[in-house]
């Protein structure tokens, strides 16, 4: 089943509803039920470790796009919030423009908000110009993120959720966090009977400078993806474990107690992609999923069937 065929099936079975723009979907309660249980399942893997736990909103400060370097590396993926920028006297002209269609955006201006670029990005400004504790600072976050990349592939949604575990600390702490969570993430997803691979990867940095960055990232083995089938077209990355070196530490003047720039690492689980991989691998009828998968996620198919519409 190709990506497009899988998308059509998800729409036909009403697990997704078409959001009128490629890559934008509404989720059925049944799919949301799976995603919420996935979130709890992943969260449980971090239980017993002290960390700051945060739900982030879908928007962040626009300055975070600049501070994180995201806008220079991925200018094609960002989303900035704009709003009407005139006074009351400008309203008639604005309304005329709306009626004429299309050009009303000329009456808007960017606000100081942007759509969230990655689960960990809004955390670093919170730590700006601070010294992290000797043991490092750990976070668990869940957030909606946005990527401007319209596609027919249901795995390439423009908005989706990331559940992340983030470490800000020394080089050794960050690398150990990345490696520990890569292995833990592999085990977590393997326990759902997904067919997983661990592959070195690079982010889709933009343009010619981006090619240098991407190749450096691969050569230094900074990023690993956990991939699983989401259609016959391509296995998709359902999670990625990333070591950022001191990129964010330098950008935000975050230091370790010895005065060195902090190093950071994160693992991000793509909740929608994992759910889609489960639906592709085990079928869209959840009652037919392997017992081990249902048990791990504490999903009762009977409850799901009752509440799905």
């Amino acid at each position: 089943m190709t990506a497009e065929q899988f998308r059509d099936r998800l729409l036909a079975e009403e697990l997704l509803a078409d959001g009128a723009v490629p890559g934008i979907y509404h989720r059925s309660f049944a799919l949301e039920h799976i995603i919420q249980h996935l979130s709890a399942y992943i969260s449980a893997a971090g239980e017993g470790t002290a960390m700051r736990r945060l739900h982030l909103g879908p928007v962040q400060a626009r300055a975070t796009l600049e501070g994180s370097g995201y806008v220079t590396s991925f200018p094609n993926l960002v989303g900035v919030v704009t709003s009407f920028s005139g006074t009351e006297a400008d309203v008639p002209g604005f309304l005329d423009a709306v009626e004429a269609g299309g050009s009303w955006l000329d009456h808007t201006a960017p606000t100081d908000l942007a759509l969230c670029s990655a689960g960990c990005h809004p955390l670093y400004p919170m730590l700006a110009s601070s010294v992290v504790p000797t043991d490092g600072e750990l976070f668990e976050v869940e957030t909606w993120v946005f990527r401007h990349e319209p596609s027919v592939d249901p795995a390439r949604m423009q908005t989706f959720r990331q559940h992340e575990f983030v470490c800000v600390g020394s080089l050794d702490q960050a690398v150990a966090h990345r490696d520990r969570w890569l292995e833990r993430g592999r085990a977590l997803l393997a326990a759902l009977a997904l067919e997983l691979d661990v592959v070195p990867a690079n982010d889709p940095f933009f343009g010619r400078p981006g090619r240098l960055l991407a190749r450096s990232q691969l050569a230094k083995e900074l990023k690993f993806e956990l991939t699983a089938p989401i259609s016959s077209s391509n296995p998709g990355a359902v999670a990625s474990a990333n070591y950022h070196e001191d990129h964010f530490g330098v950008a935000y003047a975050i230091t370790t107690p010895d005065g060195a720039p902090a190093h950071t690492a994160c693992i991000g689980f793509g909740l929608e992609r994992i759910a889609l991989s489960l639906l592709y691998t085990h079928g869209t009828s959840v009652s037919a999923w392997p017992t081990e998968t249902l048990a791990a996620l504490s999903i009762d198919p009977a409850t799901l069937a009752e509440g799905s519409r």
Binding site: R208, L212, L213, R215, A219, H247, V250
Partner: protein, 84 residues
């Protein structure tokens, strides 16, 4: 020191965000070990293109190209800069 090497060191000072002066580096010193980050290497790459009016081809957009003053000299030479 050649003019080309001097210009490269000037670019490294301006864009490399190195903790040491580029004048103190030997031609073969590993710039990454001396603190050149991946993001700074991009700025160095772009500044070298400006300084020498060249464009690094795709095959040279690699980490090793910018590993040392010597490797940058070698890459620029293939683009006709500083060739004997």
């Amino acid at each position: 020191m050649s003019d080309v090497a001097t210009t490269i060191r000037g670019v490294l000072d301006a864009h490399g965000r190195l903790p040491v002066s580029a004048a103190s580096l030997k031609e073969g010193d590993d710039l990454y070990q001396r603190g050149l980050s991946s993001h700074a290497s991009v700025n160095v790459m772009l500044a070298l293109e400006d300084a020498f009016d060249v464009e690094f081809p795709d095959s040279l957009l690699r980490r090793d190209t910018f590993r040392s003053v010597a490797s940058i000299l070698g890459a620029l030479e293939t683009l006709g800069v500083g060739a004997p």
